[in-house]
Each structure stands twice: as C-alpha cells, then as structure tokens.
C-alpha cells in the first residue's frame, strides 16, 4: 500500500466546491506536482491533506486513516506544511537563527549534535549561514522562502506539503530551493504545487487540476506526449484553436505539422476541451498618432544608495522606441529600485535620467511627462472595494481624461482586453489573471508612450500570462510603445527584444535576446544563458 492514499476527497466552502472527488496515492521518495490555474483547488487540496480544513472523504497516511482535522492531529508530527505566500510562516521580528530555534522547540526535538549539524547544513544550503542574525523582515523574498522551507524541514517531515513555494521567487533562489528539496527527497513524500512549468518538468508525477478536479495525471513526459496530437507548428486562424508563440493548439486536425509540446501546452488544450477559449485580444490603434523620439528613456550612471547599501550602482540603460526590454535579476538585485527611480518614487542619488529626450532634474519636469508614462506595480494597485469600472474611472480621472471619452475608452479596452463581462465585479472576487489585465488597462488608459511593468506576471496562470504577452506585443506593434518589464519567469525573456541583467546593483548583461542565443548556441533555454552569465560574474 502506498504511503499516502487520498480517496474521494471533497472540500466545500459554503456554496463553492473547492475540491471535487479527488483520489490519488503517492509514495516515499516521490515529488508529486500539482499544477493548474489559480482557483483550481490546489491549496484547498493541500489544506485538507494537512488537516487544516474540514473535508469529506478519506485520507490515509502510513495506514492511519483520517476523516477530519481532529483525526489528522495524529499525523502532525510527521507533517511539514508551507502555505502559499511569501514568508507567510515567518515572524517579521525574529532573526533567522531564532526561527530555527523556535521551530525546533515547537516540534520538541532533541537538541543533540546531529540536529545541530543538520540545521547548519540546512542554513548552508539555503545560503543563509551568513545571515543568522538578520531579522526576517529584512530578508528578500527569495531568502524568506528559503528560510520558510528550512524551518519546515527542520523536524525532517515525512510528508512535506509545499504550496507554491516558488511563486514570486527569483530564478537564483528557486534553483537553491530545489537543491534543498532534492537533497532530502529520499526521506519523505513531497507534494508540490507550482506555476513554473520548468519545475513541474522535474517532478516524478504531475496532476493537472481544473475547477476542483484532477483532469490529467502522469509523469511529465507522458503528459507532454498526450498533448502532441493537438499541438501544431505555426500560426493558424480559426475559431476553435488557440495560437501562441508560433504554436497552434486545436482539437480538430489542422493542415500543418505537429510541434513538440511542453507542459504549458496542457493548459491550452485543457481550455479547448472545456470550451473555454480565451477571447481574442486586439488593441485598437492610438486615438491620436504621436511623434515619438527614437530613444524613449536613457539612464546614465543612475545610482541609489540606502545608507551604506548601494541598491543600484552606476547603471546605464537605453530604452528604444517600440522595444520590449526585460529587466532580470535575483530578488534584491535592484530592479524595483531602478524602476522606482525612473518613476520618481525614489530620488536619484547620482547620474542623469532622460525621458523622451528631456533631462529630468526636477519634479516639474516629471509632471509634464506624467501623461506619457504608464506604470503597473508588483501588487496591482487596485481599490478592492470598488468595481473594475469604478477603478478605471478613477484612474481616468487622475489623468484628467474627460468623462465621456473615458467611458467609451473603458468599454473599448474592456472588450479588446477581454474583461467586459467583469466590469461590474469587485477585483477581490476575480482571478488574478483578470485583475492583471485590467491593471494593465488602467496603466494604458491615457495612451502612454512608455510602460514600466514590475513583475506583472507573478502568480498568474499560464493562459493568462500568454494572453498578457500577446497584449504587450500588440501594444508594441500598434502603438509603438516601449516597455520595460521585470519578471522571474526566465521563459518570458524569450518574448523580450533585449534583456538587461542586474546583479547586486550592477549591470552584468545588456544584449539582444537573439544575439545571446547566437553567442551561446549550446543553451537549451534562456535560463541556461542566465545562469551561465550570472555565475560567471561571481568568479
């Protein structure tokens, strides 16, 4: 019998069914993945197994069967749960070392040499050995997640449940997280949910969830194989197919060659199977054609210091007309600080900044350019208790757009960006993908010349991300807009024209993406190039 056996699991919150009749088993030494759009029920499934929410059905672990949170108490000594959210299980006022001591104590572990050695090993693997006295509130997002993971691992749980531990975490920290996981994989059973398909690829088995159900499962390779009949090379225009990134997905046979699918393909095929074809997005041309200078933004030696800490160290950067520039780097490398300097949210300590050919030296200079710049922040700055339409009207007001024009503009954007039916809903009731699109609508309502996007795709599911990028490319082509975007998805670098990589506040790469692939022909993906360059810089 398997180590963990879940049968006919149901979780219900009032009216909504979060987990609908799910059964699966898993064994020690396995990493079992769960993927799916947000709201598909992954977290609820994990909470039920961890005995944190009431459920119906049966779960047995090590031949001990439980039906309720109360009965699940018996498995808690063997359980390690990391809930979704950055640094959620950490106490901001405690240091790294105090966290480990706390977790050791609440698990009543015997403090012997072996434990000490193990915690030192964990600290070392997480790269936190040098920061044992730092308070959790001063850690970067990636460090927080690594600390959360080693705190969860300190009692050597045999059932490890990790709910999107890597969302919002930079690629470097993600790699380290995985190294820790691989290291202790043999001793436990790991349940893992993720939005990164490259991670899902590494798992032993993957479950694809859709609307509270598991709709496909198997090894990553077998799942990819199952997508093959529906994946075609090239772009094809039809009502019952989806095209994205030079691939077309259709249930019917198309007159074109098959392409090698990826795990992402599963999401598109699933959408086709459920007749949930995402609306075609098309951006109307600018209402007034604009004369845009060839260089939209130029930074010369831009520097920002926080006390002794140099967040951005003499950074030169150019953003050209109609260019998508990806700004990459680990958490704390200085990406957000850089964007905040461009926006005037932080004063510039040193260096010159030119926006649309004009040198920025005072707040007054910026004031005149406000109408030319669009910005979308990490945590979508929306008012959660105002409907989408009210939110957009509010933003239109900020930009002094006359009401009549604003109303038609909002309707136009809503239908072209595909959220028309949600106009009167509250943001808090909508999936992240919709909120993301209408945050973008708020940022482009005044038809800016340049867009600054700070991690707009974190936590957003595959299809919504695909649509988002489609949208950005249309904006670029039809509006000649320039986009500066930060992201933690290395695969998204492929969609950019050029990338700039920051490391500890310094620029280490500034090159066109196609040129990089020419320079490093051995690279299978952009991630390989990124890590090669990132590690080269270290030595």
């Amino acid at each position: 019998m398997a180590l963990l056996h879940v049968s006919n699991l149901h979780v219900q919150y009032k009216e909504t069914i979060a987990v609908d009749n799910i059964s699966f088993s898993a064994d020690q030494g396995e990493i079992v993945g769960f993927i799916g759009a947000d709201g598909a029920g992954k977290s609820s499934l994990f909470h039920a197994i961890a005995g944190v929410v009431p459920f119906s059905g049966e779960i047995s672990y090590h031949n001990y069967t439980y039906h309720s949170p109360k009965e699940a108490e018996k498995i808690k000594p063997y359980l390690g749960l990391m809930p979704q959210g950055l640094g959620l299980v950490l106490y901001p006022e405690l240091s790294v070392k105090e966290h480990l001591e706390f977790f050791i104590d609440i698990r009543n572990l015997k403090k012997d040499k072996a434990l000490q050695q193990y915690t030192e090993e964990l600290l070392h693997m997480a790269g936190l050995a040098k920061f044992t006295d730092r308070l959790a509130k001063h850690l970067s997002g990636g460090m927080k997640q690594k600390l959360s993971l080693i705190c969860t691992l300190v009692h050597r749980p045999q059932l490890l449940i990790l709910d999107e531990p890597t969302t919002g975490v930079d690629p470097v920290s993600r790699r380290e997280l995985w190294e820790i996981l691989q290291h202790q994989k043999e001793h436990s059973l790991t349940l893992f949910s993720t939005a990164y398909m490259d991670e899902a690829q590494r798992m032993d088995r993957v479950h694809l969830m859709h609307e509270a159900k598991v709709i496909a499962q198997g090894t990553p390779d077998s799942l990819i194989q199952s997508a093959k009949p529906y994946t075609y090379e090239g772009v094809y225009e039809c009502d019952t197919c989806i095209s994205f990134q030079n691939r077309t997905y259709a249930l019917s046979t198309l007159p074109m060659p098959h392409a090698k699918p990826t795990l992402e393909s599963l999401f598109f095929i699933n959408a086709l199977q459920h007749n949930a074809i995402p609306p075609k997005i098309s951006i109307a041309p600018r209402s007034k054609p604009l004369d845009i200078p060839p260089i939209v933004m130029e930074a010369k030696g831009l520097t920002k210091r926080f006390g002794d800490f140099v967040a951005d160290d003499h950074i030169d950067m150019q953003l050209q007309r109609g260019e998508i520039l990806g700004l990459l780097g680990a958490n704390g490398a200085g990406k957000t600080t850089f964007i905040k300097m461009l926006l005037g949210l932080y004063p510039i300590d040193e260096g010159d900044l030119y926006l649309l050919g004009k040198k920025i030296s005072s707040a007054k200079d910026r004031e005149d350019l406000k109408s030319k710049i669009g910005y979308m922040s990490q945590n979508f700055a929306l008012y959660k208790d105002m409907s989408i339409k009210e939110n957009l009207l509010y933003f239109a007001n900020l930009h002094h757009i006359p009401l009549s024009i604003a109303l038609t503009k909002i309707d136009e954007l809503a239908s072209s960006l595909g959220f028309a039916k949600y106009l009167h809903s509250l943001p808090k009731d909508l999936p992240l993908g919709i909120n993301q699109r209408f945050s973008l609508a708020a940022a482009i309502l005044h038809e800016p010349v340049v867009l600054f996007l700070d991690e707009p795709t974190s936590g957003v599911d595959t299809i919504a991300r695909a649509q988002f990028w489609d949208l950005l490319h249309q904006l670029k082509n039809r509006w000649q807009i320039s986009i500066l975007i930060t992201t933690h998805y290395m695969s998204e670098a492929n969609f950019c024209d050029r990338v700039v990589v920051l490391k500890s506040g310094k620029k280490i790469v500034d090159e066109r993406v196609d040129k990089l692939f020419e320079q490093y022909p051995w690279a299978k993906s952009f991630e390989d190039i990124f890590f090669y360059l990132y590690q080269k810089e270290k030595t």
Binding site: P54, G80, L81, V89, Y91, L94, D105, R107, N108
Partner: protein, 372 residues
C-alpha cells in the same frame, strides 16, 4: 502538555512584543487613560465666577458675601448695583452666577422674618449648573444659620444637612480613579489578547500552529499567559498612580484588590480570545474589542451614573457586564475597606470567578485548530 513548545512560543511572544515596541503601548496606554480621564473628568466646579448685585449694602449682606469670598469654590468677580451689567457678564460667558441681594433685605428679615434673594445661574451645562446651585445654596444656608444663632432669631426654614459618605472631601479623584482602573483592566488585556492571536491569522504564521502537533490548550497558554503576566504588572502600576499621584485613600485589603484584579484580567483576556475567534484582521479585532469593552466599561461602571439609579434595560445591562462587579470591589478596597466582611463583596467576587471560568471555557471550546 509539552513545556518546551510552550516555552518556545512564550519566548517568541516576548521577543516580538519588545522588538515591535508594542510593549511600550502595553504600559503607556493604561497609564495614559488613567491620567487623561483622571485629570480630565471634573464633576466638581471650583472658582465659580460670581457677580454680586448688592442693593442692600447692609451688615447682613456683607456677612453673607464674606462666606463666598473665603471659599475655594467661589471667586467674586466684583460687586455692582446694576442688574443689566451683571446679566451682560453672563451673556459674555465671563461670569457663571449672579447673586442679587435686594434693597431692604436686612430690614425685611428683622421685621417680618421673611426675605428673599435671587440667584441666576448660567444653565448652558445643566450638570454644572446644578452643582453650582448646590454650592450657592449651601453657602447661603451656612451664612443664615450663623446669623440666626448670633441674633437668636428663629429660622423657619428646613436646614438640609448634606454629608457625602466615604468621600467627605468630595474629591473627584476618589470617585473616578478606582472606576478607571476597572475600565483600563477591561480594555487593555482584551485588546492585547485579541491582537496576539489575530496577528498570526492575518500574517499566516497561524499555520505553524495548525500544522504542528501543538495542542489547542498549549497554544492558548502560549498566547494568553504573556497577556496575563504583562497586565498583572499594570495592577500595581495603576495602584501606585492612584494612591500617590491622585492621592486616593486606600482603606481595604490590598490582597483582595490584587486577587479580584487578576480574576478580572482573566475575564478581559477571554473577551479578547472570543473576539479573535470571529475576526481575521487586526484592525477589525481592535475596533470590535474597543466597542465591546469601552462602552460598557464606561457607561455601566458607575463612574458617570450610579447603578442603583439606573432603570429597566440599563439596570439589567449593567448587571450583565463584569465591570460593575469589579468596580464594587475596587471602590470598596479604596474608599470603604469592608472587604470580604461584606456579603455583597463576597458575592461579587464569586460572580467574577464564575464569569472568568465561563468565558475562558467558552473561548477555548469555540476556538478551532484549523481554518474556518
């Protein structure tokens, strides 16, 4: 019960309280409430500004006025003969009371044994006006009695002998400060208990409890013990402020005051626990706790209104909230000192103990280890 785990939680709570500087508020807020309300609420009126219209100008009227000049409660602004002028002063809010002694006041009194004088009081604040009226009447009666004795005149009025029990000095501090202790010890521990639990819910750190073998009672001890200990110190701090700064007498048993205060803190933190069960956000928890503690803590404490003079619903409500029972004991230990010799105090102490047991049991039963 695993002591190690509880100790770890306790240590963490204290570290967090100190590093987040919440500890300052724990000791500053009770003291501030005591100082602000203790100095701020003034039921007595000192230095009533008096304008005298003396049309008589006799020995008697002079004697009468002397009674006002030598009192800390009055301050004779000036003596005039014009009624219009005096009225004008009141209208300008430059005076509070006009005392008019009509012409032939002394003559009438000696000949007919019947005389009248007039008092006009600024009634903008009724409570203040009533207090001032009492003062003026008291002063007049005093003067007349002296006068009657001296000249051996039989007075045909009823002398109202007023004597305030247990607060003979009529000091506001004595009447208010013990009640404020009851208010502070109801609000502050409830607030802290609710915050300590809801904070973990809001941040997500509550999952550490959910997913660990820690039991519900261990968690509750870890969360409520710091509140209990920290606020136990406030019992002494508030006592010291009351007796040294506000010079409230302390006539009863300190042990009784201490014991009942500790039980009372248990009640308060159980209220915080109950609030934390139904809320998930710190701000909601704060507002809810304040509403359900401050309003009854103030209205039904007996500070503003004696419970015995309440009627109907308010009388019942006053008996539903714990503060009335605690305040009875607090006032007794400070001002009276009967202690447990009084049946009422014994009964009320019993009710407090019962209250704390019920609330604490209810809180720990309703609290769930898990979401929802």
């Amino acid at each position: 019960m695993r002591i190690g785990a509880i100790k770890a939680y306790l240590l963490k709570e204290f570290k967090e309280l100190i590093r987040s500087r919440l500890i300052i508020l724990i000791y500053l807020v009770p003291t501030m409430i005591l100082l602000l309300f203790g100095y701020g609420i003034r039921l007595e009126v000192k230095h009533t500004r008096l304008v005298v219209v003396d049309e008589d100008r006799s020995t008697l009227s002079m004697k009468l006025l002397q009674n006002f000049t030598h009192s800390k409660y009055f301050q004779i602004l000036y003596t005039t003969t014009s009624y219009q002028d005096a009225l004008h002063k009141i209208k300008q809010a430059k005076a509070d009371v006009i005392l008019i002694i009509p012409a032939d006041f002394e003559k009438n009194l000696f000949h007919t044994h019947k005389a009248s004088l007039a008092i006009f009081i600024d009634g903008a604040f009724p409570l203040r006006a009533m207090t001032m009226q009492g003062y003026v009447e008291g002063a007049l009666i005093n003067a007349m009695e002296d006068f009657a004795q001296k000249y051996n005149i039989a007075m045909h009025h009823i002398a109202i002998v007023q004597r305030n029990l247990f607060n003979q000095a009529m000091r506001d501090e004595n009447a208010i400060v013990p009640g404020l202790i009851g208010l502070v010890l109801l609000v502050a521990p409830a607030l802290l208990a609710a915050l300590l639990i809801v904070k973990e819910k809001e941040y997500g750190t509550i999952f550490n409890f959910y997913s660990s073998p820690l039991t519900k009672s261990e968690f509750l001890i870890a969360k409520l013990l710091p509140v209990f200990l920290l606020h136990s110190l406030n019992i002494f701090i508030l006592f010291l402020w009351s007796t040294y700064l506000f010079v409230v007498p302390f006539r009863g048993s300190f042990w009784l005051y201490w014991l009942s205060s500790e039980i009372y803190i248990l009640i308060s933190l159980s209220i915080g626990l109950l609030v934390s069960i139904i809320t998930n956000r710190q701000i909601v928890a704060v507002v809810l706790t304040l509403i359900i503690t401050i309003i009854p803590g103030f209205l039904y404490s007996g500070i503003l209104m004696p419970i015995s003079s309440m009627q109907g619903e308010s009388y019942i409500e006053a008996h539903l909230f714990p503060i009335m029972y605690y305040n009875q004991i607090a006032y007794d230990t400070f001002l009276i000192g009967q202690g447990l010799a009084s049946q009422k105090n014994l009964l009320y102490l019993g009710i407090l103990i019962l209250y704390s047991i019920i609330l604490l049991t209810l809180g720990s039963l309703l609290m769930k280890k898990g979401m929802r």
